[in-house]
Amino acid sequence: MEHPHKPTPLTKKFFTPWVIVLAAIALNGILFLLARFVFGIGAVTNLDNQYPWGIWIGLDVAAGVALAAGGFTTAAIGHIMHNDKYESIIRPALLTALLGYTFVAVSVMVDLGRWYYIWHPIIMWNGNSALFEVGICVMIYLTVLYIEFLPIVTERFIGRVNLPGILSRFNKLVNTFLIKLDKGLDKTMFIFIIAGVVLSCLHQSSLGTLMIIAGPKMHPLWQTPILPLLFLLSAIAVGFPMVIMESLTASRSFGLKPETEVLNSLSRFIAPLLGIYLIAKIGDMVIRETFVYLSELNSTTILFGIEVVIGVIVPLRMFMSPAVRESTKGLYIASMLVIFGIVMNRFNNFITAYNPPYALDSYMPSIGEISVTLGFIAIEILLYRLFVKIFPVISIPAKKSLSKTKFAIRGAAK
Amino acid sequence: MKVTIKILLLLFICSLSVSAQIQSLAKHAQMNIDCKSCHVCDTPTKADPCLILCPRYKLEVVRHSPDEGPDHIIIDKIKVEKDLYKPVQFSHRLHSEMSLMSGGCSSCHHFNPPGNIVECSECHEPNRARTDLSKPDLKGAYHRQCMDCHYSWDAKVECADCHELNSSETESVRLEAMPSKSHPKVKEPEKIVYETGSDEGDLVTFFHNEHISLFNLECTDCHSNESCAQCHSQKEKVERPILADAHENCSACHDTEDDCTSCHMEMERAPFNHFKSSGFSLKKYHSDVSCISCHTAGGGFTGLNKNCISCHNFEDEDFDHGVTGLTLDDIHIENECADCHTETVYSKVSCDTCHDEDITYPASLPGTKK
């Protein structure tokens, strides 16, 4: 077993001008968050009885979950199908999923009116509720993600446990524990990996079921009984573009050589996946004859057009061209478009399509909501940056001395 | 033997019950009610009278005049622990007078079988929590009765318009004022010009005042079955209802079948003037006389002779000359009419029959003028 790439903690310095900008955005978000907890949801958001859900659910949660799909799609292709080629992108994808889902959970908590009861669904069940299913799956999946991440933590600390001061006498003990844990995890990891994929499929689709119950309140362009399928397909389709986008961004930001070869072969999957999604979406429209709504020109249909044309059809065409797939720039733009398309889709499903019967005017996210959403994204990026500096996540192009198996290194530390 | 007795007995019982039914039928029949107002089926029997639930809009058999009812009624049937309002004083007389213009007594007394007037509370339960939902409870029934009209013409009607607050200090004075209270005099229009769009002449000028003062019609002769809201409307301006049959009210007196042009004209017509249309002035003696006391032959108002005797029989012993404004003195009262009125036109008087030329009418009078 050869590892051409070996994940290593990065040594680049943390602060750059961009990081400071992100920190400012994060701080701004945190201030509004504080306001939300001190003065209530009404004070910060534009939500009301007509529009109970805004971008905190539509973007932070729904789009967040979709974009974290890279975690399970890479796990499926890398671990379950044992395609070792993709090993190097599994860890970054896992970290994104981990952070993504953590922030999904946090966002849900922020949006919950009675956030201190967020644990209620664990003991109070309503099997009829799509939201219950989403909630439970996300909770379990989040746990699974943390477990999947554990080996990275153990790998980082085994042989390097260095507790401060008086605690240092436990160094050895902790070290042994970590080694035991690592061994145990290694044996059972497949359970969690499969569980992760199953859970992802379940809640990605159930996220689509969420809005079905809104029935006629939802615009027919989006309201369809196959919403769960569309959500699942689109989540699968956005998984790889997300990984590509991240990998390219990270390598650029850390000044590494982009892993074009891996990414290129990964990008071959995207066009078929997007294609399937598009066929399902268009097919559904044709069967239910909802295209008649496209004859009117208003903000709703325009947003639908943007979502489908710019977010699906254009990148689909781009990913079909080998030239695009081979150029870093092409890959980056096409991936960004897919991501944009899916974010639009989630936004449209949860916000554009939702037309409450008695609303006098339509919902526009408030400054507070936007600030919090942007703040979360900024914090996520910052944490990602921090994590890859602490833990061996990103693979650095191989040097001969490092191309040993992970057990070889650890064995040395024993 | 036994069997025959049994059969006889049976027959006897049957005939009894049949006669009983016939009797009650007879009573019903006297009342001139449509069977369908109470029974749903064609042949109701005693065992299965198939009565309809509540003949809300159908049954009214007894008509009374407004003065037969009470002047006012105190409504205090509904009592709760803490009454917010005083009992309601209802001006029955006023309302019954008004009702003549619309549905009559039955607009409120909708279930009014022979016998005593049925009180609301005899059918409508005072308890709102009940099993029979087919009629509103008493409180609902009262309020609906009032609000059906009051609300339909004024959505702004307030509780305090009928209910006095229990907490209000002022002693009630409305009761005393009530008997004299009646519907305020309706301001009647002088004339209405209808644009009918008819070929025979677009305009019909209707002189409302003439029909009342000249032709002595009662309000209810034309205005029957009208809802209060026709005059009292939520909307500022009352629009005149378009009659289903435009001639409905007119044809009772006018020939609307063959004679169009007497009403339908190209321009507004002038008020009715007997002198202009017939050359016979009504001013002097006939202003209070109804049309038909002269125009006795039905079907037309023409053809009368202007001669007095074509109507008046002055030869009558009892003729009181005073009605002309001239009371004859003792000497002249003994005369025959023709002694002075030598022509059939009674306004012409000749004194020559008895007197010399120096005595002429009206320089000298045969009596005293009023």
Partner: protein, 299 residues
């Protein structure tokens, strides 16, 4: 390696059984909350918009019955409120709106939770805090509620309101069919006070009969349709009026139950946990096979 494989199989089997156990447990829970077995005895209210006079006494009484500051009853005569189309809110569980009816006459209609026979809110609630009771009322347990507001998204009548202004302990609020009062044998506050009995409280069945009786006796007075008889699978509150209320006062709804589609999808995905377990087994199989192949190749 064979050791490994046996482990693998064992664990897969173990997960399978535990999932099975879970599924055996959950359908019962699901059934307990489901309103499938609707009681014949369930109550309802017939709202006759042709009778309502817009006095808003019901608003006053409803507030009073729910410990909401309701002020002086005389102030409710203020007609100005009719200028806007109001909606039930946390401080007013029911409201009366005025609308222009067919012949340009003004009519009034009282709105509150419809107490659906197949309530979307009950199906949606993540913790099952909302339930449909035998007597027809749809009530909720504030202590369970986590404030996710999914019931508000689900409700076709946009009824549940949320106390957005509260930072701590905000609650979902809606008409509860005066649950406390009816349990004491009293009438719902609004139906008790209505001066004209525009609100008739009774068994839903009887109300339907009564509504049809009114249609028959007064064909001119009514638009011959009971809103709520079939809409959205039926509601406990039924409306009759002089015009079609769907599309103006109420949204246009078809007769399928609100949670029908989503629940069948939901149950399809989770039918006794079979699909998830099947996927799990399938993936496990793939993983095992590819692993096996690679190991052999490695040798």
């Amino acid at each position: 390696m064979s050791q490994n494989r046996r482990d693998f199989l064992k664990t897969v089997a173990a997960i399978g059984t535990s999932a099975g156990a879970l599924s055996a447990l959950s359908p019962n829970k699901v059934k307990a909350k489901s309103p499938e077995n609707l009681s014949e005895e369930r109550m309802g209210v017939l709202v006759d918009a042709t009778v309502c006079i817009g006095c808003r006494k019901c608003e006053w009484a409803c507030r009073g019955a729910h410990d909401i500051e309701n002020g002086n009853i005389q102030d409710y005569a203020d007609e100005k409120v009719f200028e806007t189309n109001r909606r039930p809110d946390y401080d007013n569980l029911t409201i009366v709106n005025r609308y222009e009816s067919s012949d340009e006459k003004l009519s009034n209609v009282k709105l509150q939770c419809m107490h659906c026979d197949h309530p979307a809110c009950v199906s949606a609630c993540i913790v099952g805090a909302i339930s449909k009771k035998k007597n027809g009322s749809v009530v909720w347990d504030t202590d369970m509620c986590i404030g996710c507001r999914y019931c508000m998204v689900a409700c076709p009548f946009q009824i549940p309101a949320f106390e957005y202004h509260k930072a701590l302990d905000p609650k979902i609020v809606k008409c509860d069919f005066c649950d406390e009062r009816t349990m004491e044998g009293k009438l719902p506050a609004c139906t008790a006070i209505c001066p004209v009995e525009a609100l008739t409280y009774g068994k839903r069945e009887d109300l339907l009969i009564e509504a049809k009786r009114r249609f028959k006796n007064n064909p001119d007075r009514y638009y011959q349709h009971i809103f709520g008889e079939h809409e959205i699978g039926g509601t406990s509150w039924l409306y009759i009026a002089d015009k079609d209320l769907a599309g103006t006062v109420f949204p246009k709804l078809d007769n399928r139950t609100a949670p029908g589609v989503s629940e069948s999808i939901q149950h399809g995905l989770f039918a006794y946990f079979v699909p998830p377990v099947a996927v799990y087994a399938l993936l496990g199989g793939i993983m095992w096979l590819t692993k096996d192949k690679k190991k052999t190749e490695g040798k």
